[in-house]
């Protein structure tokens, strides 16, 4: 069995190509009430009164839930700060925040009634929609200081300010100092599956269904809010139809749970795509970078100040800020670094985790600035990166060392893009390197059952939201137990059935849950080895296990054959449990070193239509250091997909606000992402494999690398083609054209 390194058909694939895969919205709970949210046409408003009388007269409507129907004080929740109310109380803080929720027998009745809920509200004029708004001396406070505890920033819109660095940047001499500021806009996840939530009373407990990536976090939050033991909260998490980080953190699960308890029946809330757009996004950022170089192009210092504009509730955004700021200086050898990252509240859609977790924002600024330095120093843009890049095992942050041959990755990308080859007119190339910390803590449990007939069940609490975790865990099991892939079922998505997993994020699952699965298989191997020792009267120590085979001194058996012989005639099964724990390191600035780094080099060649500003992607290359590609096709799928998503962020995606804080381009018509006709003419993803990762078989995490530095690679290519530097994304035709109209003085 050589399951590792192969690319079998995806686990769960049959359901996905036949329409039988059950996503959340496809699950019909008998007798469920339908929920429709009531929202206001502005971001910040004072709620004076809500009159549901007329709405409740619509036939089929059961009730309209408002803050008045919930406990006082309003229960609040969140992964870092307990700041998000179950439903808006007193004031709305972003466009799309629900103020009431209708429960009715049919979707039609719920929708009709939602239009009849009369909300008396006062638009509040001084909403915070930008970093400048938030930091103005007379800015209104987005959050009540009473919710902020002892924070020294409680009287401001700053949640926290992170300080990282080493050395003293003021002590460093430099032949050249460059400085510039860049902006990264608000973009949204746009999973094709909109978010959905259902809940049903379950005896003395509750059942919750959600499109969530982190079912066990949801279970914990629900238990706390409803004062139930974990054992009385059952979370069903069907495979999400795309997550990208947007489905990590609970949103309206508590609301539907309270509604289900009130109704005594299941309730169902499936958001529209437009509503989903109003609930999740990536944090925007304004980034100032200053860096010093020797005449040869060697870094002497880097100074980064980043203002992340998060939304009205913190969600996981403060962690986005700390984690991305920590490694914001990139994979370079720099004697002195100073990084400040601020988490700033605003009256906008709460930002959350999003593929890349803050790195695309900082990477855009840092890599663009390095190009500026190279230009001023007259050094090739590839060479300046190679010159400063940390080499294998070299520390690049005091407590972190390079965990791969990054130079090999960069050189591979340069070669694939044809770096240095002559360029036709109106063309340009760019290259950029990016680095993201993998998980800093982790806890995953897996149970594997080797059944009597030689098939196997794998229990893993990871969410398979497209990355193909089912396939990976099946491959590991096949490799270790010698069970054919088709005979392995991977069970996920039910906290009452599947053991605990901390979360599906940070490209962790193959490494962390994969290790737990492998260890569960090892436990089975050990049990079967003991069976073999007994059956064949051999010392256990003389039996080796390799790829599902038991190697005795004079003969060999398959694990399955031995198991069957030992368990006959009653049958039964052999159960293995595996645990993978990455504990907190209290002294580490992030609470733990990264389990691995996702390192990527992206290179791009573009052609610019100098009259219209349209950018054609002639060639786009991403190379990632993956340790080992456990499933090469899935690695390519992740890399291609991340690259294309990154190209969307780079070329066309952004929220456009009006002056009342409403997102004007909600939905699929005016929020543009790449279609099949917008792809690079040549898209190439490649892996560097040195089997030097911490996961099974030397794997590292993948799936975010290819979008970490898409923007600076493409931006640099556009700069070379046009001679113009653009500091704001996206690089829309209009923006490129405007840059082309500027005269040499930049006016």
């Amino acid at each position: 069995m050589n399951a590792v390194g192969s690319s079998p058909r995806r686990g769960g694939g049959y359901g996905r190509v036949t329409g039988h895969q059950e996503y959340l919205a496809d699950i019909k709970l008998p007798d469920a009430l339908h929920v429709k949210l009531v929202t206001l046409e502005c971001a910040r408003a004072r709620i004076n009164a809500i009159d549901s009388t007329e709405a409740e007269q619509v036939p089929g409507v059961h009730f309209v839930m408002t803050a008045a129907d919930l406990p006082d004080p309003m229960p609040r929740f969140g992964p870092q700060f307990q700041d998000r109310p179950v439903i808006a109380v007193g004031e709305t803080k972003y466009h799309g925040e629900p103020v009431a929720a209708v429960a009715a027998e049919t979707k039609d009745a719920a929708e009709e009634a939602a239009l009849l809920v009369k909300v008396d509200y006062t638009k509040l004029e001084d909403g915070i929609f930008s970093v400048a708004d938030a930091l103005a001396p007379d800015a209104v406070l987005v959050q009540d200081p009473a919710l902020r505890g002892a924070s020294s920033f409680a009287q401001t819109n700053i949640i926290d300010e992170k300080h990282f660095g080493w050395g003293d940047i003021d002590d460093q001499e430099a032949h050249l100092v460059v400085e510039d500021s860049f902006q990264f806009p608000m973009v949204t996840h746009f999973a094709i599956e909109p978010h959905g939530f259902m809940a049903a009373p379950d005896g003395d407990g509750i059942e919750v269904w959600s499109t969530i990536q982190h079912p066990y976090l949801l279970q914990k939050i629900m238990a706390k809010m409803l004062d139930l033991p974990l054992s009385k909260v059952r979370v069903h998490a069907p495979d999400p139809g795309g997550g990208f980080g947007g489905k990590q953190i609970p949103k309206f699960e508590p609301l539907v749970a309270f509604m289900a308890l009130r109704a005594g029946r299941p309730v169902r809330l499936v958001l529209s795509l437009d509503e989903t757009f109003q609930q999740v996004r990536r944090s925007s950022a304004e980034i100032r970078v200053r860096a010093g170089f020797t005449a040869e192009g060697v870094f002497t210092f880097m100074d980064i100040e980043t203002n992340f504009l998060v939304g009205a509730y913190v969600d996981i955004a403060d962690r986005v800020v700390s984690k991305s700021s920590y490694s914001g200086a990139g994979p370079y050898r720099i004697p002195a670094v100073k990084i400040i990252g601020r988490t700033i509240l605003s009256h906008t859609t709460p930002s959350t985790a999003f593929r890349g977790f803050g790195i695309p924002q900082i990477g855009w600024a840092r890599e663009s600035l390095i190009d500026e330095a190279a230009l001023q120093l007259g050094i090739d843009r590839l060479q300046i990166r190679l010159l400063n890049l940390a080499r294998y095992k070299e520390p690049f942050i005091p407590s972190e060392e390079a965990d791969g041959d990054w130079e090999q990755t960069v050189r591979t990308a340069a070669k694939r893009i044809g770096w240095g080859d002559p360029l036709p007119p109106n063309r340009g190339r760019g290259i950029a390197v990016g680095l993201k910390s993998g998980p800093t803590t982790g806890l995953s449990y897996s149970t594997v059952r080797l059944l009597y007939d030689g098939s196997a069940m794998v229990y893993a609490g990871t969410s398979d939201m497209g990355q193909g975790a089912r396939t990976i865990f099946a491959q590991i099991t096949a490799e270790e137990l010698g069970v054919p892939l088709d005979d392995i079922t991977v069970v996920m998505g039910d906290t009452s059935v599947v053991p605990y997993d901390q979360q599906t994020s940070a490209s962790r699952s193959s490494v962390l849950m994969g290790t737990a699965v492998q260890r569960a298989c090892f436990e089975i191997q050990g049990k079967v080895r003991a069976m073999a020792a007994k059956l064949y009267n051999v010392d256990e120590g003389d039996i080796k296990v390799d790829q599902g085979r038991l190697l005795l001194p004079d003969r060999e058996f398959s694990v399955v054959d031995v198991m069957q012989e030992a368990l006959a005639p009653l049958g039964g099964e052999v159960i293995g449990n595996g645990e993978m724990r990455k504990d907190k390191e209290p002294d580490h600035p992030l609470g733990g070193t990264a389990a691995f780094f996702e390192f990527n080099c992206t290179a791009s060649e573009v052609e610019v239509d100098m009259e219209t500003g349209h950018v054609t992607l002639v060639k786009h290359v991403t190379v990632g250091d993956v340790g080992k590609a456990l499933n090469p096709l899935q690695v390519t799928m992740q890399d291609d997909g991340a690259a294309i998503m990154g190209l969307g962020h780079t070329l066309m995606e952004h929220y456009i606000f009006d002056n009342e804080g409403r997102v004007r381009n909600i939905g699929a018509i005016d929020y543009r992402i790449l279609t099949s006709m917008d792809l690079p003419l040549d898209l190439h993803s490649e892996s560097v494999e040195n089997a030097d990762g911490p996961g099974p078989y030397g794997i590292k995490g993948v799936s975010e690398g290819s979008l970490l530095v898409t923007a600076p690679a493409v931006g640099a290519a556009v700069r070379e083609a046009t001679g113009k530097i653009i500091r704001d994304l996206p690089l829309t035709p209009q923006r490129v054209w405007e840059a082309l109209q500027e005269d040499e003085n930049g006016s």
Binding site: S7, R9, R10, G12, G13, Y14, G15, R16, V17, T18, G19, H20, Q21, E22, Y23, A25, D26, K28, K107, D108, H189, F190, A191, I192, E193, P194, D239, P240, G241, G242, G243, F244, S272, L273, M465, G466, Q467, G468, L633, Q634, T636, M637, D640, G641, A642, A643, I644, M645, G667, A668, I669, I673, L674, T675, S676, M677, L679, L683
Partner: protein, 158 residues
């Protein structure tokens, strides 16, 4: 003139007589009334293609038509693609080429691709990209989807 109407239609080869609300879309009726949930709801403005079905040989967005409009028509949804002997060549190619990731857009992609191959059994890459431009994939498996359609076309030709 009524607010519900009985329509006669053939869905996945099966003749059906359905009482449908006149203000429900075909997508609503497929998913909510007759449990054909393989057809997906996403943008409901005809931009994402997740709700694509084939009506009388042409791919259409089921979110953009009233169910009453299919009276007398023949509808194929993703549930109707599988052949008696198993997955259709296109479905198989989607699995072999890694075209399915989260899978949510896949029913729509399959329907658009099926219609494309019926019209044009030997499409070029550009024709596939054009034919599937109305089907968004945020996992962005476009390269793999295109390869799968090409592979299916080659397989059918052989």
């Amino acid at each position: 003139m009524n607010r519900t109407l009985t329509i006669e239609t053939t869905i996945n080869g099966r003749r059906r007589s359905l009482d449908v609300a006149v203000n429900h879309t075909l997508l609503d009726v497929l998913r909510d009334d007759i449990d054909l949930t393989g057809t997906k709801e996403c943008c409901v403005v005809g931009e994402c293609g997740a709700c694509t079905v084939i009506i009388d040989g042409r791919p259409m967005n089921s979110c953009l038509m009233l169910a009453v409009e299919i009276d007398g028509s023949e509808v194929t949804t993703v549930e109707g693609l599988e052949l008696e002997e198993g997955l259709s060549p296109l479905q198989g190619a989607f699995l072999d080429e890694g075209a399915t990731q989260c899978g949510f857009c896949i029913p729509g992609q399959l329907m658009a691709a099926t219609a494309l191959l019926q019209q044009n059994p030997d499409p070029t890459v550009e024709e596939i990209q054009e034919g599937l431009a109305g089907n968004l994939c945020r996992c962005a498996g476009y390269e793999q989807i295109t390869k799968a359609v090409l592979a299916a076309a080659r397989g059918v030709k052989q």
